[in-house]
Amino acid sequence: MADVASANPAPIVLVLGDEELLATRAVAEAVERGRAADPGADVREYEAGALTPGEVAEMLSPSLFGGRRVLVLRAGQDARKDLVTALLGYAKNPDPDVTLVVAHAGGAKGKAFADGLRAAGATVVPAGKLKGHRERVAFVRDEIRRGGGRCTDDTAEALIAAVGTDLRELAAACAQLLADTDGKIGADTVARYYRGRAEVSGFTVADAAMIGDVPGALEALRWALHVGVDPVPIADALADGVRTVARVAAAGRGSPFQLASSLGMPAWKIEKAQQRARGWTPEALVDAMHAAAECNAAVKGGADDRGYALERAVVAVAAARQGSARR
């Protein structure tokens, strides 16, 4: 057995973070490693908050029949004090035939438990929410690589622009692309797959423009164009963004539910527009609508560079909001 000793799984694995997809995967991998060491391993899962020290002691005590045991504790942050004490005690001298996997959300709650496991030498697998664009790009590239494919940063960015930042959806999109191609995935492949999401992309652009987030709006716009979204629905979405905020702002204060019937809009849309309406004056809305109308004319064939016309409109809408006090 000496040759597999190096592959002996870590006795304690701490999966730390609240990104569900990453946590689920890390737990599954730890379990797989236990099974790889012993195909007949006994795997059990518990919710940490519902477990007593007695039950745990029984689980961790040597089995009559020998063999590897894998114990998964979910929601480790919910473990009660006596359980934490028992487990930290165990962690000082773990049984090499046992794999203890603790999933912990990583927040302030139950922090002492996580810190204790770490101090006791647990293998820590980070599973926190990805922060920022670069990490997401790396995630997508890694996903494709895991599936045996290859893609560039550009492709990963195009996919994020088309699908959004939800990791589950990104992972599903990667799996779909891998399944439908030979693994070499380019930005054009992404464009072919996600052109249908035009409305979503257009509304992302409009939403950012309406809160004055020029960099966000421009980035969303560039990627929407990059993945092949037609400029016309983007221009329409921009006009719709201005129209919605203007009509909701003009309707005055009131609950979204009361306004829903008079404005002919769903309440959630009104609520969102009420938040966006802050910082807009009526004058500024006139300017913004004018920019949206000019943009519509430009993308319908007046302009040589329709992408530029959209960029200018996005900037003009945001500038109108900024200049609410100008006129």
């Binding site: 329409d236 006009a239 129209r243 203007a246 009509r247 702002a249 003009a250 309707a251 009526p282 004058e283 809305l285 006139v286 609508m289 004018h290 949206a292 109308a293 519509n296 004319a297 319908k300 064939g301 007046g302």
Partner: protein, 407 residues
Amino acid sequence: MPDVFAELVGQDDAVETLRRAARAAAALVAAADSGDGVGAPGDAAVGGAMTHAWIFTGPPGSGRSVAARAFAAALQCHRGTGCGECPGCHTTLAGTHADVRLVVPEGLSIGVADMRALVLRAASTPSGGRWQVVVIEDADRLTEGAGNALLKAIEEPPPRTVFLLCTPSTHPDDISVTIRSRCRVVALRQPSADAVASVLTSRDGVPADVAGWAAAAAQGHVGRAKRLAGDPEARKRRDAVLAVPRRLTGVGAAFDAASALIEAAEAEAEAAVAELDASERAALQTALGAGGTGRGAASAMRGAAGQIKDLERRQKSRATRAQRDALDRALVDLAGFYRDVLTLSMRAPVAPVHTDTAALASAAAEKWSPEATLRRLEAVLACRQAIQANVKPRIAVESMMLALWRG
């Protein structure tokens, strides 16, 4: 004697040109019939008064298509140059003359297939022994391909075929330079309100006061003046449009006014085409033998589905155009109001367009600076242009209403 040119209001020069051409054309026919000449236009013998291809230009409502149809009748007249009473004149004006083809685009453009078919048929010998006449209304809506097909026919015209094209102007946007270079142009003027009013009174029996009001409100558009004088629905729609400036009390009101204007145009267009749509569908179904049974009925129905789809596509295209036209009429009325305000605040000695909103216009002239009024007028005109340039009507109208509110 009310001859075929009587409908052309205030267009004496144009009528004179057309009469001379019709006389020359009649001489050509007579010469050919008696065997003394070749009988094609452009022969030195007839002084070149007649030619194969004509363009009628002028602002909307000046009577471009009226002039073209009248000229067509004059060419088919049995007695002279458009007596208005003989079978030739009569059937031409009624649209049933075998040698006169009228092209009225139903969609936003005239396609190449339609134009090729038309050119082919127009090359045949006139069955009445006079002229094959093709009248193309809205020749500015020819597609490039259709324009090329037409150009070929105009470049090598069959001896007895005459093309009459109507466009707003001879600007290259409206008609290609090469077609223009092969046509004689008849430029129609915008008739004065007085001329329009007097024709309403004399021809249609409209009381003088109503005729005066309607002629001014229609801004030189004869057909529109007649509709305003006689159709209460048209008047109601105009009243609603002229109530817009008063209703613009804020951003919300501007969006409401935009919705109301768009919906009114949709309803008007719907009413205008509904009857025609239904009768076309009924005619097609009859022709296809809908509801038939027995051998071949099933496969006939499969082909029929395609034809019905095709009809629906054309009808939709026509409805879109009718909507834009209705919206454009409303915008012209609205522009008239702001023009009235502007002339009042500039104290220009010009008669108002809308005599019935004079009080509102002068109140506005007191309140708004001339610059603000001009901006409003420009906003309406920009909206018309935007809609012509294919901007979504709702977006264009909303932007305009907001500009009208702010000034």
